[in-house]
């Protein structure tokens, strides 16, 4: 086909005003006809704070924002956002209040004075594109105070998993469990279950006492429900002689239900270890392969199957030899980080290969450091690791450049009790829906 040059037809030239008026009229008409679908497109990309505010704009917007399909779309955008300029991190840390001078800090901490101390869940947005010398890595910190008496002590309050913007908090002293969505400032305490027994009287040697051994929060993709699992051991006399029990709480039912547990494993809390990844919750534990002998391992719970599993760790990683271990999610896999206790730390990063379906096969991928720090927190990018340094400040360590950048976050407690998770924004409510 021969290509002919195009000649436009001669049109009557409109005056500038006529063209502008016409355009304005069409534009106004277009805006007013903004369909609900288009409104939904904009809204579904907004962060929770904006959404909570824009509920006030119009009744149709309120209904849209609170609808389950919108909440799901908003969550999906949050998780899959290719355009995301920031990554949201949630920190659990202790902050002092009403401090008039630095000398007071020592006394407040020494005396364990709860009136002068708050435990914060702090949300921080870190800039994803931070190459170059831009020191401004972060934006506004949003703090949510964890209410007393739940937050009675920094070491007793732990994050027991997070998923889709929901965080599970446990107090290991008073055995309370709470579910929280910090982005929409919602907090809910779970009911006490029947598996937990009242405190045994000190004189009562034969009585049975329950002790919460492990708590984990995650997502069951089969039933599309959020679940909390709890393992309870029973003490009688001076030794644990009764078998453990386990129970599961689901967000949909708002209640606990007992489940089977056939593994005798003792979970021990250790800093920066517990994680939920792809429907499985992982704890640090001691297993007892033969009577009298114990072995460090990972204890795992499958949220869908509701089964427990013991996962071996690489040989040689043993606290008795001074090796400390941490667990993290790195490059879409479960990674075990090990280091020797003192001084500047070199971290060995092992990745668990679960392609064969059998868990517990580890490959050492990388050694990073040495870095002067207390504990690693979380990988917020595949090449950036958040760490707590000795004065309680949090920094971001770049694996490639070996450089650190300071974050406006610190905690006054013992650094090992500071926790951080990479969070997504969601509008998912933890409260019982009305009707």
């Amino acid at each position: 086909m021969k290509w002919k040059p195009y000649r436009p037809r001669q049109r009557k030239l409109e005056s500038r005003e006529q063209v502008d008026r016409g355009r304005k009229k069409r534009q106004m008409g277009k805006l007013c006809k903004l369909s609900e679908e288009m409104v939904g497109q904009f809204l579904s990309r907004l962060p929770p704070k904006a959404l909570m505010r824009f509920k006030c704009i119009h009744k149709s917007w309120y209904n849209l924002i609170t609808s389950p399909s919108f909440i799901a779309k908003n969550l999906s955008n949050s998780k899959n956002n290719k355009f995301a300029s920031t990554t949201r991190i949630l920190f659990k840390r202790t902050v002092l209040k009403d401090i008039k001078d630095k000398n007071e800090i020592f006394y407040v901490l020494r005396d364990n004075n709860n009136d002068r101390r708050d435990i914060f869940l702090s949300l921080l947005d870190l800039c994803n594109d931070n190459d170059g010398d831009d020191q401004n890595l972060h934006s506004v910190v949003d703090d949510l105070i964890v209410p007393l008496p739940f937050s009675i002590c920094p070491f007793s309050l732990q994050i027991a998993g997070h998923c889709d913007g929901l965080i599970c908090l446990v107090n290991i002293v008073n055995e309370e469990v709470a579910l929280c969505n910090p982005a929409i400032k919602e907090f809910k305490f779970l009911p006490r279950s029947s598996l937990l027994l009242p405190r045994r009287h000190p004189e009562d040697d034969d009585g049975i006492e329950s002790d919460v051994n492990a708590v984990g929060f995650g997502y069951d993709s089969k039933t599309q429900d959020y679940k909390i699992v709890r393992v309870i051991t029973y003490i009688t006399g001076i030794a644990y002689t009764l078998p453990s029990k386990a129970e599961v709480y689901t967000l949909s039912s708002h209640s606990w239900r007992e489940i089977k547990i056939d593994k005798e494993c003792h979970v021990f809390w250790t800093p920066s270890f517990e994680i939920h990844f792809r429907g499985i919750y992982y704890w640090s534990a001691l297993t007892y392969p033969t009577p009298g002998a114990d072995k460090e391992a990972i204890f795992a719970f499958d949220m869908s199957e509701e089964t427990f599993e013991e996962i071996p760790i690489p040989d040689g990683i043993c606290a008795r030899d001074g090796i400390i271990k941490f667990l993290a999610v790195w490059k879409e896999s479960v990674a075990l980080i090990s280091c020797k206790g003192d001084g500047p730390k070199s971290f060995d990063i092992w990745v668990m290969d679960d392609s064969s379906g059998i868990k517990g096969s580890w490959t050492k991928h990388l050694v990073i450091g040495p870095i002067e720090c207390e504990i690693p927190l979380v990988f917020w990018k595949s090449d950036e690791l958040l760490l707590v340094i000795s004065d309680g400040r949090v920094v971001s360590y770049h694996l490639g450049n070996k450089t650190i950048k300071y974050l406006p976050i610190h905690g006054v407690e013992d650094p090992q009790y500071i926790q951080a998770v990479v969070c997504v924004n969601s509008m998912i409510s933890v409260k019982k829906t009305k009707g």
């Binding site: 290509w3 497109q41 904009f42 594109d129 506004v140 929409i184």
Partner: protein, 184 residues
């Protein structure tokens, strides 16, 4: 003289003393609501689904001028700009930084109202990746604005009475604090 640098079928052009080496890609012509006419390169035009469908169904001849009564001239300019860049970057292996820089420049001189209009247009023209990008850009601009600003921007009337409004506001009073209503 024919050139075969493009993927398109080569088209023979009469050679002659004044035959400059022209871009011999086919062109598609559209006319916007305000009477402006645009010649689009075929590969750019095919990024716009509504145009693609128009010409592919019933094999309408490329000589037909497609009317776009819902699109303004300035919007068409921007859409062509974005799609042209998108096509260019498709063939690049690592265009991430370039794309980011381009995107930043693209929205730089557009008011939020203009962005909104452009988003509507991208929706009408069916250019998904442009729609996604613009929706994100608008969201970024409105996320820290207050209720009045957003109502005005979207041309939405308040249908809550005072009492109802206070009730809804009370569900999350913290969400109405620390906002930024800078001119954008």
């Amino acid at each position: 003289m024919s050139t075969s640098t493009d993927n398109n079928a080569s088209i023979t052009q009469e050679s002659g003393p004044s035959a400059a080496v022209q871009d011999i890609q086919k062109k598609i012509v559209v006319r916007t609501a305000d009477g402006e006419v645009f010649n689009l390169k075929e590969e750019v035009a095919m990024e716009i689904d509504i145009i693609k469908t128009f010409f592919q169904e019933d094999s309408i001849s490329y000589e037909t001028v497609m009317p776009l009564p819902n699109v303004e001239g300035w919007e068409m300019v921007k859409v062509i700009e974005y799609c042209t860049k998108h096509v260019e970057l498709k063939h690049k292996v690592d265009g991430y930084k370039e794309r980011k820089a381009f995107q930043a420049l693209f929205v730089q001189n557009l008011s939020t109202k203009s962005l909104l209009a452009l988003t509507n247009t991208a929706n009408y023209l069916e250019v998904k990746y442009l729609l996604d990008f613009l929706c994100q850009a608008v969201s970024e601009q409105i996320k820290n604005k207050d209720v009045d600003y957003v109502r005005e921007l979207f041309g939405v009337e308040n249908d809550f009475n005072d009492e109802e409004y206070e009730q809804v506001k009370a569900e999350a009073p913290w969400a109405h604090e620390n906002l930024n209503n800078d001119l954008h």
